[in-house]
């Protein structure tokens, strides 16, 4: 039943967003007759609505197809990876399950920052890489130039690029041939014990967790009692299968192959991507290398928005929705919090900004709850001195949790290595932006005659809000970036607090560099002044560092709010206007008697002028 290891190829497709990864995957499925043309019309590997809407893949899946080459049938397992940097760890696990990677580059747009980062991930995993220039059917395609970019930026020979149009099917046969001839077969088992790598897991309402794995050593069979080596949990396999791309049950999965298993696993918390599966009664001595727990780097709070129709049930509904969603995504964390301003809610941790947006959208869409989201922050490492003089380290996800300024020894923040590719004429602007964001210039290389790649070290806190939008704006949309979190770094950071109507609103406090604190505080007040609507009384806004006021603004009270003319013909329209006015307040939160709109809470991280 199992295929000879010589005739197996495991590979991933990696690409910058929109360079046509999923379309290419579909085209390969079609060429191997795994699906009909009609089925291939939609991107098959992306299963969630949200993924399709955003044009990205959130969950990796593995598909097994068969292709006959020179009279020999080969098993091709291709492992789809999430394209975004937030999921770098997941990408690296998916790549570890492969021997080769297909690097897709848009023949019109060329090498982008994400292409570089993904290619390096594949190189780090020692994969053989096939470069593919996609969309060669487009009028703007410049395959020769882009092939040179690949050579210059990534050191892969320009003449080895395969020209493909996933849309028309051109070059697909050649690509399949190259996959079989150039990519190595899986390595022979190194131990007689069973070892499989978990590279993905999803939650299914009916079957519980479905685990995607790659066999390295030995064989898994239906009914086997298995152990997750990292977590130390034991399960019993009730179903083994492969996606072709329709799920098909199999009795066993042998070395070099990929597949999925179901084993009555109730939550995603019981499974870790990167963990090693072995047999309970004959466990391997060593797990496969490279396992890491997911790292939440970006944090924000979710609160139910005020909804006086339902009153107290909002928090319960939010909790249910978060619990349900956590069955589907174990890489975000949550814990209940209470805020003076916003009442009861949850502090949530995410792999990155995109991950945060996805979770918020899914909660609102699938959980049918309305959420007030606070500004995202990063995870700080704070050293504090206790009364006895002992120093201990705290991990702080929220400026509000920062202890008294007197006890703080140091605050360290996560740093990123940021790669930016931009047309040469915008290099000066990009440089300015990065330096403004406390970036440290590292190096610069030519990607092509007209484009450059720059590398900076920038604090994560400086890029999590509007950095990307800024970059896009500065470079007329041509600049692309990618980042990788590197290490923690001590800096002179302070907490700036905001008081509205003399009440501190913790959800609006921020941590920033001391030199910029006064500026940031004042800037925030100016924004809040615009965001918070006028009330029937005067509202003072203040910014403070440790009790010292560093800025003040005042929102003047309404002294006049009256319609001059209101006669018989105005009744219905006027009534609707007044009703709408009240409805507009639904998404607001009260602090004392002040109504604060949700956007105001996002003003904290908006550094624009």
């Amino acid at each position: 039943m199992t295929t000879d290891i010589k005739h197996i190829r495991n590979f991933s497709i990696i690409a910058h967003i929109d360079h046509g990864k999923s379309t290419l995957a579909d085209r390969l499925l079609q060429a191997t007759q795994a699906v009909t043309a009609r089925e291939a019309r939609n991107q098959l590997l992306d299963s969630m609505d949200l993924e399709r809407e955003r044009g990205i893949t959130i969950k990796a899946s593995a598909v097994t197809v068969h292709h006959t080459h020179n009279g020999q049938e080969y098993m091709l397992n291709f492992i789809d990876t999430p394209g975004h940097v937030d999921f770098t760890y997941e990408v690296s696990r998916a790549l570890k399950a492969c021997e080769g990677a297909i690097l897709v580059v848009d023949a019109a747009q060329g090498v982008q920052a994400q292409t570089v980062v993904n290619a390096y991930l594949a190189i780090e995993q020692d994969l053989d890489i096939i470069s593919v220039l996609n969309k060669i059917d487009l009028p703007g395609a410049r395959p020769d130039d882009i092939a040179m970019e690949i050579e210059q930026a990534l050191g892969m020979a320009a003449e080895d690029c395969i020209l493909v149009s996933a849309k028309t099917g051109q070059g697909i046969d050649e690509l399949l041939e190259t996959i079989i001839e150039k990519l190595p077969q899986p390595p022979a088992p190194t131990t007689n014990k069973t070892r499989a790598l978990i590279f993905d897991a999803i939650y299914d309402d009916y079957r519980g967790v479905i685990v995607y794995f790659r066999m390295f050593d030995g064989t898994l069979k239906t009914g086997d009692k298995i152990r997750m080596m990292g977590l130390g949990r034991n399960f019993s396999i009730t179903e083994l299968g492969k996606y072709t791309p329709k799920p098909e049950k199999v009795k066993s999965v042998g070395p070099g192959e990929t597949g999925y298993l179901v084993a009555a696993i109730k939550t995603l918390g019981d499974v870790r991507v990167g963990d090693t599966i072995t047999l309970e009664n004959s466990p391997a001595d060593q797990p496969l290398s490279g396992y890491e727990p997911p790292q939440q780097m970006v944090f924000c709070d979710f609160y139910p928005s005020t909804n006086s129709e339902k009153k107290n049930n909002d928090f319960e509904e939010l909790r249910d929705a978060i619990n349900r969603l956590s069955l589907n995504d174990s890489s975000f964390t949550f814990q209940p919090v209470h805020s003076e301003a916003l009442g009861f809610g949850f502090r949530c941790g995410f792999l990155g900004l995109l991950h945060m947006d996805i979770i918020q959208e899914r909660l609102e869409r699938e959980g049918d709850v309305e959420i007030v989201q606070t500004a995202p922050t990063v995870s700080y490492k704070v050293q504090v001195r206790s009364k006895k003089g002992l120093i201990k380290e705290l991990e702080i996800h929220n400026p509000a949790d920062l202890p008294d300024a007197g006890t703080i020894v140091s605050i360290a923040e996560p740093m990123c290595r940021v790669n930016i590719i931009s047309p040469s004429e915008f290099v000066g602007e990009v440089m300015k932006l990065c330096l403004e964001r406390r970036g440290i210039y590292k190096h610069q290389t030519l990607v092509s005659a007209t484009r450059q790649m720059m590398t900076f070290e920038i604090p994560l806190a400086e890029i999590i809000y509007d950095f990307y939008d800024k970059l896009k704006g500065l470079t007329s949309g041509y600049g692309t970036m990618d980042y990788e979190i590197t290490q923690y770094h001590n800096d002179n950071l302070v907490k700036v607090q905001v008081l509205i109507n003399a009440e501190p609103v913790e959800a609006l406090s921020l941590i920033c560099h001391k030199d910029r604190a006064e500026f940031r505080g004042r800037q925030l007040l100016t924004k809040l002044k615009k965001q918070i609507p006028r009330h029937q009384f005067e509202i003072p806004l203040q910014a403070a560092i440790g009790g010292k006021i560093i800025g003040r603004e005042t929102i003047k009270g309404f002294r006049k709010n009256v319609t001059a003319k209101c006669y018989g013909g105005d009744v219905s329209r006027k009534r609707k206007l007044l009703e709408a006015q009240k409805k507009g307040k639904k998404r607001m939160k009260s602090v004392g008697s002040v109504q604060i709109p949700q956007e105001a809470f996002m003003a904290v991280l908006d550094q624009s002028e």
Binding site: Q536, F558, K560, N561, V562, G568, V571
Partner: protein, 421 residues
């Protein structure tokens, strides 16, 4: 294929009467008391003023005759639903004085035939026509007088030529005195002037002069409107283009207060946010709006309130002329009677009046909606009283002077209580 307005398919002739005013009248409950007020809209204008958001058009197709025929058919249809003597008629626009004299005679004659005008003719009612100073003549006023009109309202707006220019009004400010004398000579002794304040560039001193001049003319009723930038008007477009700086809020408040002071000293008391009158000379017709009474409506874009129904005649002259359901006009924005909505509207309109609203009928309506509503309303009112914005007197809820300036916010809160209950 008939065009569509707000999901209501307009009727073609003799068909689909569900979107005609006739259906509303047929649906009235037998015990519904007939309306005692009538509003008529004359849509013609010689040009469109920049601040105006009323329905009006500069007619280039000479449709005055057919319009009058059509209006008369509508009045006949409505007349059968007004068996009792009318308390008030108000003819507005547009520029009613632009309608041809012979057509006015036909229109007024028809009103006499189709409605009982006995109260109006014996001085217990009110029949107002809105006039523009530039197009008003003694002949015209004579026709009005002969047709039982006993009150005219002139759009003076300002006595400063530069401000009239900002508003794109065509008349010579001195003409206002003249037309008032004309009206007196014609025997129409009840007169009202409209003034506008907070015009870009207007000083408090200039506003004071306008008020004093209006007082000196000696009319019984004055309306003072804070200039409002209505959406989709030329004035708002000019504002957005930065053509001028709007008056600041402090000046608006000072102008509001100054109007109360200057007119009050002259015996014209504020009885509504923007309206002032000698005692007993308040506009009966407008009081019907603010007191949520019923009224009939005729002419394109005219809004009606009958037996709890609200609707608006089609705001399109062509459709108004073409579609005719036994005289009734095609309508849009029809709202069925609704206790909650009626209560919200009663508060919204009634609190504009200095006399305020009678809490008794409000409590009665509140009890029908929800057992807690009355308590919640009272609580909300008490909160406003504490803030000095409302007062309770003789079982009436009223806004204080400070409250009048904040009417919309206060009313929105009360309405919210009504809708959330």
């Amino acid at each position: 294929m008939a065009p569509q307005y707000n999901h209501i398919v307009l009727p073609t002739l003799g068909q689909c009467p569900s979107a005609s005013a006739r259906q509303v009248f047929l649906a009235l409950k037998p015990q519904t008391s007939p309306a005692r007020a009538l509003y008529i809209h004359i849509p013609f204008c010689s040009h469109k003023c920049d601040y105006c958001d009323f329905y009006s058009l500069v007619d280039t197709r000479d449709r005055q005759n057919v319009f009058t025929d059509r209006l008369i058919r509508e009045l006949r249809a409505l007349g059968s639903f007004a068996p009792e003597p009318l308390n008030s008629i108000f003819i507005g626009g547009g520029t009613p004085s632009l309608l041809d004299a012979s057509l006015w005679e036909r229109l007024l004659g028809e009103l006499n035939d189709s409605f009982d005008l006995s109260r109006i003719q014996t001085g217990q009612g009110e029949f107002t026509v809105e006039c523009n100073p530039e197009s008003t003549t003694p002949e015209f006023l004579g026709i009005l007088k002969a047709g039982s009109v006993d009150r005219v309202s002139f759009g003076a707006q300002s006595f400063e030529p530069e401000h009239l220019k900002t508003l794109q009004r065509l008349h010579d400010p001195d003409r206002v005195e003249l037309v008032i004398i004309m009206a007196q000579d014609a025997g129409i002794v009840r007169q009202s002037l409209d003034l506008i304040y907070a015009i870009p560039g207007q000083t408090l001193r200039q506003w004071q002069r306008d008020l004093q001049r209006a007082v000196a003319i000696g009319v019984e009723h004055i309306s003072c409107y804070n200039l409002t930038y209505e959406p989709a008007t030329a004035m708002t477009a000019r504002l957005n283009q930065g053509e001028f700086t709007p008056a600041d809020e402090d000046l608006e408040i000072q102008s509001f207060e100054l109007a109360g002071k200057v007119l009050g000293e002259a015996g014209l008391m504020r009885y509504e946010i923007s309206n002032f009158a000698q005692k007993g000379c308040e506009s009966l017709h407008n009081l019907a709006y603010w007191r949520s009474e019923s009224w009939l409506a005729a002419g394109p874009a005219a809004a009606a309130h009958v037996g709890g129904h609200r609707y608006r005649n089609t705001p399109h002259l062509g459709q108004y002329l073409d579609f005719d359901d036994q005289g009734f006009a095609p309508i849009m924005d029809h709202e069925q009677p609704d206790t909650r909505r009626a209560l919200a509207e009663r508060l919204m309109m009634g609190l504009r009046l200095v006399e305020g609203v009678d809490s008794d009928p409000i409590y009665r309506a509140g009890e029908q909606i929800n057992e807690h509503l009355c308590d919640q309303l009272r609580e909300c009112v008490l909160k406003q009283i504490e803030a000095g914005l409302m007062a309770m007197q003789d079982g009436r809820w009223q806004l204080t002077d400070a409250g009048l300036l904040l009417t919309d916010g206060i009313v929105a809160e009360l309405m919210d209580v009504v809708y959330q209950a």
